[in-house]
Each structure stands twice: as structure tokens, then as C-alpha cells.
């Protein structure tokens, strides 16, 4: 039964590992491999993106469409949306009539189905589904901050070993708890990435270069949940990076009122590295469930480690440590 719920364990048994931490590290690598896009998926995504880019620039000369978000940083989970932004030379394409023009064009060209124009939102977008691949696409207009963030994340990924693995596993965890949707108070992708980056760069063993994160992914995952599920003071602190060095730091909520609408409240505040007055996680109002989920993941992982550590070989065979916190639903990969 476990092989269907935890497909990343199939043919990857690590139950002979002496150290439970090593077993967990190896299982994390298997899970990351399993949820990483296949070459067909990458080809499909690129085809969809390139077609849209080309057609939009034909329809509107003087504009360029770009990808941002998880698709631009290769931190996407299977089936994740594609985020695109149209940037024009004139900078005035974010308006109602333009949104409707483009949506009719995409429909007429058979490039979009289930088209929705959300013109009155804070960030106006067109939402649609690619008819061939069924991938969901959001197009926004004239906003460069997503592109800047993607560039920053790509830089972090190349300078921070272990970041990609930790982010993907935490994202998959949040998704399986339905806590990854910011529209219902969950934690967004960028917020998740900043928390993981902050954690890795402030860890005593990593900031002193005493160990290689890739060898210690298992213990780092548990310690990530330990920090944000048990110990971090959401009441008093803001998660922040030094703007010059990008070193992790915490700011006090009551000394940075611009970021914190209500003082001393139980809310998660993550400072935007590109705009010190912007709170990346202002939509993540469901902190109670988020903290509970992180704390629960810590408990479950630790309990599983203790249980498997004393279990006889036959009871360890085919077991998953991550299976208690991550259920994988989706087509076989």
C-alpha cells in the first residue's frame, strides 16, 4: 500500500542506512527527483511559453512577454501554473480594454480556453488554460517586480546548495496540506523561498561552513520545521535580509511599523528584499494553521525517526520517513 502513496520510495530503499538522518537525506533526494519535471514536461512548458511569447509580440508589436514565478526558477511542482507578464515600451498596457483585447485574441487564435479576465483586482490579470497541455496560465501587465524576484532567486539557487531541495520539499508539504494558496491565507512561493534561504544562511553549522548541506538535507528539513513550527517568535520578529549583503537577520516588529499594520500580533512578516516597506507575506493570514502544520511536521518526522531507529529490518523495509508529512496525489511519474 505504501508504494502507491509514497511512489518515490519504490526501488529506492534506504532502510539499511545506519544513521536515520542519512536515510532521510537520501529519501529527500528521491522525493525531489520524483517531483522534478520530466523532460517531456519541460518541453511542453517551453512550447506553450514560446508560442505565447511569439503570438503576443505579433499581436502587440512593442511589447514583450516574460515568465516569472516558479516556472522561471525551476522550482515548480508538477502541474503548477505558469505566470507571465507583458511589458511594453510605453508602459500603459495595464488597462481594461487591453486585457479584453488580448483575451479575445488568444481565444480566437485557439491559444486559450476557460478565459477569465480579472480587470478590477489589485493586480489585473487574464487567467486561462492552454487547450493542448491543460496548463493554467496567468498573464499580468507592466509589473517588473516578479522578474526581479525571479532573477534574485536564480542567483540564490546557484549560491546556496540545498536550497532547491529544501524549497521543493517544503512546497510539496504545504501543497499536500492545502496551505500553499495565498488567496486563502496560505504561504506563497516567494515567502517559502525566503524562509528557506534565511534558515540555511543562519544555521550555525552552515554559516560557519562546517558541513555540506547536501549531505545533511534530512536533519535540515526537521530543523526548518523546528524553527518555524516551535521556536520562532512570530509575535515580535520580522524575517529580513540585509539589503547590502543579503545576510539573514530579524527585525523587531515594533520598530518597523511600516511593515506591520497591527503591532504585536500573531502574523508572519517577511520583508521584501527589493522594497523594505513591502511585506511579502501580508496575504498569509492563516499563520495559526501554518505554524501548527510546521510543528506537526516536526513531531511526525521525529516520531517516525525514533520508531524506525529501533524497528527490525523487516519492519523498516519499504518504509517512508517523509510519507507521514507528504502525500503525493497525481499521475504516476
Amino acid at each position: 500500500p505504501s508504494s502507491t502513496l509514497y511512489p518515490w520510495v519504490r526501488n529506492h530503499d534506504h532502510c539499511k542506512q545506519k544513521e536515520i538522518a542519512d536515510w532521510l537525506t537520501l529519501e529527500m533526494k528521491d522525493l525531489v527527483n520524483y517531483i522534478s519535471p520530466s523532460s517531456e514536461e519541460i518541453i511542453t512548458r517551453n512550447r506553450v511559453i514560446n508560442t505565447l511569447k511569439k503570438q503576443i509580440s505579433i499581436f502587440w508589436p512593442g511589447t514583450e512577454a516574460h515568465v516569472f514565478g516558479s516556472c522561471a526558477t525551476d522550482l515548480y511542482l508538477p502541474g503548477s501554473d505558469i505566470d507571465m507578464v507583458v511589458i511594453s515600451n510605453t508602459g500603459d498596457y495595464e488597462n481594461r480594454s487591453r486585457l479584453y483585447q488580448l483575451s479575445s485574441f488568444l481565444r480566437a487564435k485557439n491559444l486559450a480556453k476557460n478565459v477569465e479576465v480579472i480587470a478590477s483586482a489589485k493586480v489585473p490579470i487574464i487567467k486561462f488554460v492552454d487547450p493542448d497541455s491543460n496548463l493554467h496560465i496567468d498573464i499580468s501587465f507592466e509589473r517588473k517586480n516578479g522578474l526581479d524576484a525571479a532573477r534574485r532567486i536564480r542567483r540564490w539557487l546557484s549560491s546556496t546548495p540545498g536550497l532547491r531541495e529544501l524549497v521543493l520539499v517544503v512546497k510539496q508539504f504545504l501543497r499536500s496540506r492545502k496551505l500553499n494558496n495565498v488567496h486563502v491565507g496560505g504561504l506563497g512561493g516567494y515567502a517559502t523561498i525566503i524562509m528557506c534561504y534565511h534558515f540555511l544562511h543562519s544555521h550555525p553549522k552552515l554559516s560557519t561552513n562546517s558541513m555540506d548541506p547536501s549531505d545533511n538535507l534530512g536533519v535540515l528539513l526537521i530543523e526548518f520545521f523546528e524553527l518555524y513550527g516551535r521556536n520562532f517568535s512570530y509575535d515580535n520578529l520580522i524575517i529580513s535580509l540585509n539589503p547590502e549583503t543579503e545576510e539573514p537577520r530579524y527585525l523587531l516588529k515594533d520598530k518597523n511599523s511600516a511593515l506591520n499594520t497591527a503591532r504585536n500580533t500573531f502574523s508572519i512578516v517577511i520583508q521584501d528584499p527589493a522594497d523594505p516597506t513591502n511585506n511579502i507575506s501580508r496575504s498569509s493570514y492563516n499563520l495559526r494553521d501554518l505554524k501548527k502544520a510546521f510543528g506537526g511536521a516536526y513531531q511526525l518526522l521525529v516520531a517516525k525517526c525514533y520508531q524506525l531507529n529501533v524497528a527490525p529490518y523487516k519492519d523498516r523495509l519499504g518504509q517512508s520517513i517523509l510519507g507521514d508529512i507528504i502525500k503525493f496525489k497525481g499521475k504516476e511519474r
Binding site: P204, T208, E226, L301, Y306
Partner: protein, 88 residues
Amino acid sequence: KSKTRKKQYCRTCDSFQHGDENCPTIWRSYLTKRSANNDNESCVLPVICCYNCGSSLHYGDECPEQRSSRVPNLGSAFSGNNLPKKLR
């Protein structure tokens, strides 16, 4: 809870906080770099930020201020004990 529960004791930590079978060292074991274990160990200064008060002088486990999170701390990664010996 049963009244006959044996008092727990961990031989690894010489502690009564947990038993041998629930010892955090079972999972909190790091694979460190060879150079970090001998005398040429890392001299890179750590980035310190306290998860409780935000100070850059100590880690959260050693914070002198009142603890903000209501979840009890059993000892975490963010402790001076996790620094290379000569930086402690």
C-alpha cells in the same frame, strides 16, 4: 499516563528529559566536513540572529529574554553548541 511508568533516562545525553529511544541525537546527527573536526576547523564567523529577540549576539536557545513561542523548547539547531569549538 500509567503510574508505573519508568523514569526516563538517556545514556547518550546523560539526561532525564527523554529516554534512550527518544533521543534527538538519533536524527540530529550532522555529517560534518573533515576540516571542521580538526584544529584547522572553520574560522568563518557565523551569522547570528536570535529567533526569540532578534539579537545578533546570541542564538535563540541561549536568549535571556522571556520566550515568546508557547511551544516548549527541547534544544534546537540554533544554539551556540552547534558552533565549531573555537568560536563558542
